[in-house]
């Protein structure tokens, strides 16, 4: 879906984004200040600048803490530690460069900007602005105090003012821009839900049409081509049985695993279900039908092979077929279990697939053949692809042992 975050989640994510961005700016500032201090110390070994490096290291640790554990405590701690470090760095600069150092030099600016970029806690733009203003004021006071104590000149720091201006403007603008999302997003989400229902209804109608075709229309055709006289007993029994089912039973629900709790649970615990769920998370709409509980008649090894092979088929649909929908049908007989993956995508010719398309050969065909199964592929360029995976089912007594996939692997 391209509908994005719901309105109520936006402030939280935007604030987290701004906080992370502010911390990255603080990190770059601290590292730049550190590097320039190291460089100056190496150029001027007679001056004692290295204590400033301790302050930068402490700021770095405080920044790591506030970024990892964002809370009121860590934010206040960062402000306090940052302010003390700014004071300390300013004091060192003023005493080591008496009469030359100004309070707005690069290294001092970097330390102050790092304090402004506290981030803070709270979901509103206002809280973010207040935290950065606190940092700005505290860092400014620390600089002014150190300058005053050492008799150095205090200058307003354009860099720090620009930093707080950009941060504040960013937060105000993001807050203002949310109106458009507020108006349109509910209707887009409603449309997405309606689309989901519509697609589901379409699938069920298609199934209903197929059933009607296979039953009622076939019987009508049989009657219209019958000769005068007694109705064929076979036709009679078929008509009776189908009428009973069509009018009296929930025939559209029968294939749906959701109607039988036990069957549904069994299916949802299978490896194949997990494989399908994994691919659904990647964005493929997989419609599942058929005798889903048949997969429980496979042992651990075969059910794993079928799940992984099916997953590869579904991933292939997503990657190569140019469609976001696929159908998975499970058939079961006494002797074997079949899984069919069908898509109406671009299709391909297996013989012509390149060396990079090893998925079908290795992950599907070889894997299934290794557990005694077979794979058949029908594909026509432009018409879609169907892959049929057939694997022998276990003998009934073995089924009991390996019914539970999770425990079965341990048991074996």
């Amino acid at each position: 879906m391209s509908l994005g975050l719901p309105v109520h989640l936006v402030p939280h994510h935007v604030r987290r984004g701004i906080t992370r961005a502010a911390h990255v700016v603080a990190l770059v500032c601290i590292l730049s200040g550190t590097l320039v201090t190291v460089s100056l110390q190496s150029q001027l070994p007679s001056r004692v600048l290295w204590p400033a490096l301790i302050a930068f290291c402490i700021m770095l640790a405080a920044l790591w803490f506030v970024d990892r554990q964002p809370s009121l405590f860590s934010s206040v701690l960062y402000l306090v530690v940052g302010t003390l470090c700014v004071y300390w760095i300013t004091l060192i600069a003023m005493t080591q460069f008496p009469g030359e150092e100004r309070s707005d030099t690069f290294v001092l600016s970097m330390a102050r900007v790092a304090v402004i970029m506290v981030g803070g806690v709270g979901a509103s733009a206002l809280s973010g602005i207040l935290w950065s203003v606190c940092g700005f004021v505290l860092a400014g006071l620390a600089t002014a105090l150190a300058s005053w104590q050492t008799g150095g000149g205090f200058m307003f720091d354009i860099t720090a003012i620009a930093a707080i201006a950009v941060l504040t403007a960013l937060q105000i603008a993001l807050e203002m821009g949310r109106t458009a999302r507020r108006n349109a997003q509910p209707s887009l989400h409603r449309a997405a839900r309606d689309e989901q229902l519509s697609a589901m209804r379409y699938r069920i109608e298609t199934k209903a049409a197929a059933v009607m075709h296979d039953t009622v229309l076939n019987h009508l055709a049989a009657i219209s081509s019958s000769a005068d006289g007694t109705i064929n007993p076979s036709l009679r029994s078929q008509v009776e049985r189908d009428l009973e089912v069509l009018v009296g039973e929930e025939w559209l629900l029968d294939a749906d695993p959701g109607t039988h709790d036990e069957a549904r649970t069994e299916w949802m615990q299978s490896r194949l279900y997990r494989a399908v769920d994994d691919v659904r998370q990647l964005g493929l709409d997989v419609q599942v039908s058929g005798e889903l509980t048949a997969v429980s008649r496979l042992g651990v090894e075969r059910s794993t092979a079928v799940a992984l092979a099916t997953k590869q088929c579904l991933v292939n649909v997503l990657k190569h077929a140019g469609t976001d929908r696929a159908e998975l049908v499970v058939y079961g007989s006494e002797r074997e279990v079949s899984v069919m993956v069908i898509d109406s995508g671009t299709g391909f010719s297996e013989a012509e697939t390149g060396a990079d398309r090893l998925g079908l050969r290795q992950s599907v065909r070889r894997r299934i053949e290794n557990v005694g199964g077979t794979v058949q592929v029908w594909s026509t360029p432009g018409r879609g692809t169907s892959v049929m995976i057939r694997v022998p089912a276990l003998e009934p007594e073995v089924v009991v042992i390996s019914r539970d996939d999770e425990q079965g692997s341990d048991a074996q």
């Binding site: 994005g4 203002m176 821009g177 995508g345």
Partner: protein, 379 residues
């Protein structure tokens, strides 16, 4: 839409609208900032033509930024990213050349900050990794240019310090931009994972009543003719010419209903639900079925929004789909008794989403008639 990049705008077109005012502000503020800084440090300038060229380049970067970030031109492409970053870099270089032997302080140069602000403005439009790598490359470039200016700088520190000072704004702002974008992308992806699970649950919860509703429709059809006919035949136990004729007639009627239902696309159903039978969809090639889920959602939302608006004129609605080769083109006309600006602003969020999910989108409004043209690939 070829493929979705991991950029905030493409994952959340509505969210990118939120950041649009910032982009417009940045497009204006960056050249103004450059002009003011130039004025303040005018005594360091040795070539005014180069200064003018630099200001023109950074203004052009702002214009391209504004143009490419317009939701109706979404998505913001890699090419546009390269153009904007390239113009900002050229502006920086021209500015550096304009003070080549006379630049005294790196810190008061506007070039590195302008590059950083441009990259910060891209946070919602381009993938975070791309912004970070551009930032790192341009920081290196800015550092090298700063090193080359060492001969005129008066601070008296090591050349590496000039490079660090010049690189810091580019690195800080570009990496902050990438970090902001990454947080948003991570947030959306986490929400999508939850939403997909909810959608599966929603499907499970609703499939029962939909199946019963569809079955009821079918049973109603069967009860009209089929059940009485079969009951009659089974009771008699024989078949004659009348039965054969009746069987054929019933089969034809059922087949006609099934064909009509099969011919009715999801788009027909939406338009029918929104407008009744007053409007129809022209889709002789059945191209509506080739739209993907996101595309259907966007079209559904825009039709519902348009037809539900008080200024909508139901008599002037039409929707036609035509195919040319592998591409499908749709033209939607809707009469709206509103001004151009109101229509564009009220429906901007829908168009922003459509612009992302369709390969082409054109919106026109004249004589109280809105025309939306969009294209998509037949899959």
């Amino acid at each position: 839409m070829s493929s979705i990049e991991r950029a905030f705008q493409q994952l959340d077109p509505l969210g990118a609208l939120t950041g649009r005012p910032i982009t417009i502000a940045a497009a204006i503020i960056i050249p103004v900032f450059a002009a003011i800084t130039t004025r303040v440090s005018r005594d360091e300038i040795s070539s005014w033509p180069l200064v003018v060229a630099a200001l023109v380049a950074i203004t052009a970067a702002g214009v391209v930024l504004d143009y490419a970030s317009n939701p109706l031109r979404a998505p913001f492409t890699l090419v546009m990213h390269s153009v904007v970053s390239g113009l900002a870099s050229v502006a920086f270089l021209l500015s550096a050349f304009s003070m080549w032997d006379t630049n005294r302080y790196i810190r008061d140069d506007w070039g590195p900050i302008a590059i950083g602000l441009v990259l910060l403005s891209l946070s919602q439009y381009r993938p975070p990794k791309e912004i970070a790598s551009t930032g790192l490359s341009l920081a290196l470039f800015v550092g090298v240019v700063a090193l080359a200016q060492e001969h005129s700088l008066v601070t008296g520190v090591a050349p590496i310090d000039y490079a660090i000072v010049a690189m810091t704004p580019v690195l800080a702002l570009s990496l902050a931009s990438a970090a902001f974008g990454q947080r948003l992308v991570d947030g959306i992806e986490a929400w999508r994972r939850r939403a997909r699970r909810a959608a599966t649950q929603f499907t499970d919860e609703n499939s029962g009543w939909i199946a019963r509703s569809v079955q009821q429709d079918r049973v109603t059809i069967l009860n009209q003719d089929v059940v009485p006919f079969f009951a009659d035949v089974l009771q008699k136990g024989t078949i004659d010419a009348d039965d054969r004729d009746r069987a054929r007639a019933i089969a034809d009627a059922i087949r006609a209903i099934m064909v009509a239902e099969a011919d009715r696309s999801w788009l027909d159903i939406i338009v029918d639900q929104s407008l009744g039978s007053t409007a129809t969809v022209s889709d002789p090639q059945r191209l509506a079925s080739a739209m993907g889920t996101d595309q259907r959602t966007a079209v559904r939302a825009v039709i519902v929004a348009l037809t539900g608006h008080p200024a909508f004129d139901p008599q002037r609605f039409s929707l036609a789909l035509t195919g040319h080769g592998a591409a499908s083109h749709a033209v939607l006309h809707a009469g709206m008794q509103l001004s151009d600006n109101v229509v564009r602003s009220e429906f901007a969020p829908y168009f922003a989403v459509m612009r992302i999910v369709f390969s082409e989108l054109r919106v026109e409004f004249s004589d109280s008639a809105l025309t939306v043209r969009f294209s998509y690939d037949q899959r």
